[in-house]
Amino acid sequence: MSEVKEPTAIKVVDAFDLDDELRTILKPGEMVRDAQGRRHRLPRYFYEVPSHDVATGLRLTQHFGLNEFVLVDLKEAPRLQQFPRYVPCAVRLLAFFLEQFRAAAGASLHIAVNGGYRSPAHKLSANATPHMWGTAADIYRVGGSILRTKEAIDKYNEMAEDVSDDVRVLPYGHTTGNNADDHVHVDLGYITMIPREISEDRMEVPQEARPRFAFEERRRNDRRGRAGLTAVPEAEVLRTED
């Protein structure tokens, strides 16, 4: 008889409930300025990713796993190079957009290391960018093609813009204007996602310590008349591919 694996739950956490070091790194609810001096409030609710296996197995959409949005190198704060990892809940919206972009491109999209979520402590987070909200992706490869020419980057920039009027892309060579760009940047802006379980009248104070879990899989199963994830009765979960 094969072993029946219980689905892995992924917690939604209020970053105010995290330990001091993590709060210092994630800066929940703090205001930060972008390169143009505009102020934006950092996200407060995060998925807590317990392990590499969970990150790899958990699909946000059909073709995008959570692991693809949390790839970082030593530029990220050391604490966030280890599990559990934290990624803003709005990353789901980005995945949904990328799924549409992927369909338009007709090929797989590959997010670069440091090209998904970057914490405020990341060395590339000198100014606020949507990467710190989990709503930006740097795509370095489409299908088998590594992006390194103006023609290729312009082509996919245009394609991404055609998917939605709300997406922003950065022109080729956006950093310096020189001809050494290596990715397509897409972002949805500074979107903060607040899980349903959160009462917004308590936004300025920490929520109760009760853990909350992402809920989509159970809700979807209920809607489709299938059995829910009864193995975790009180917790609503995102299901990993196990």
């Binding site: 030593l74 670069a112 290391v113 590594i146 390194r148 310096t176 760009d181 290596d182």
Partner: protein
């Protein structure tokens, strides 16, 4: 080279004392080196070695600065190990493999020419990560330019020079990463002397590159060197050489520590420069062979 010029060069060589084997060997070596320089039409040749077995240190034109080519990667490795020893970097830390760097001259970004870098082991990870240890390995063993620039980005070029200064290694000037064309055109190049590289290698060979552990890490990587047409080509097959080569269109260098059974190692640096027309020959291997023969033949009276 004309017979007249050759005769003139040979005339400069002193006659070896008949009663001193070491002095005789040194003079003989000097003559051979001059002949190799002439035969290969080298524009410049710099040599320095130290033999821990006999304690002989010998050099030729060893304070002349050459374009460092890839021998500068030894200094990068030293800088990496400095940061590791200080706890500021881990060899297991992941580094984003990305072909985009910034010139030291105008801060403009530039990319490496994929066709010129010998190492697909690093390019194959574009967009992903390799650890600091893996990058260091490919930087030395296959002379990966991409790995080198990535490591310089991690530690900073100032750290490399700081490491050299801390260990009293002069004769190695590191200003920039690889293929920074704007810096090249501004005349900003990495430069080394034979004596400078000899000091660097002696520090490593003596396990004084910050710690025994750090030195052994460096040696273990250098022993895996895959380009063997320089110093190793002039040695018996049983010799183990921890070394780093350096090649561009008009220079061919090799700098390494030679381990032979039954004796202490010797440290050897050979720097050669030639015209683009003359091209690279076997001068480094020939010098290595002569030095090996000389050291093997030395007998104290």
């Amino acid at each position: 080279m004309s017979a007249k010029a050759k005769t003139k060069a040979e005339e400069k060589v002193p006659l070896p004392p008949q009663t001193d084997s070491v002095a005789a060997s040194e003079v003989s070596l000097y003559r051979n080196i001059l002949k190799i320089k002439q035969d290969h039409e080298l524009e410049n040749l710099g040599i320095s070695f130290f033999d821990a077995e006999t304690t002989i240190q010998w050099s030729y034109n060893a304070d002349h600065y050459f374009h460092a080519a890839s021998t500068m990667k030894l200094a990068v490795l030293l800088g990496v190990m400095r940061q590791v020893e200080r706890g500021e970097l881990s060899l297991e830390s992941p580094v984003h493999v990305r072909n985009r760097f910034t010139s030291i001259v105008n801060q403009e970004p530039f990319m490496l020419d994929l066709a010129r870098d010998a190492d697909p082991n690093v390019y194959g990870h574009l967009g992903k990560t390799l650890t600091v240890r893996e990058l260091a390995y490919w930087m030395i063993t296959l002379s990966s330019n991409l790995a080198t620039n990535l490591l310089i980005d991690v530690i900073g070029v100032q750290t490399i020079q700081l490491a050299l200064d801390e260990l009293d290694i002069d004769g190695v000037r590191i200003l920039r990463g690889v293929e920074d064309q704007a810096a090249f055109h501004a005349g900003l190049n990495n430069e080394v002397t034979a004596n400078g590289l000899l000091k660097l290698l002696r520090v490593v060979a003596d396990h004084k590159a910050y710690s025994r552990k750090a030195s052994e890490e460096m040696l273990s990587i250098m022993l895996e060197q895959q380009y063997r047409s320089g110093i190793p080509a002039g040695l018996p097959k049983a010799a183990r050489v921890a070394h780093k080569t350096g090649n561009i269109s008009t220079v061919h260098h090799d700098a390494g520590i030679v381990y032979l059974d039954g004796r202490e190692p010797y440290v050897l640096v050979i720097l050669t420069q030639f015209s683009a027309e003359a091209g690279r020959g076997t001068a480094v291997a020939d010098v290595s062979r002569d030095i090996f023969s000389t050291l093997a033949g030395i007998r104290y009276e």
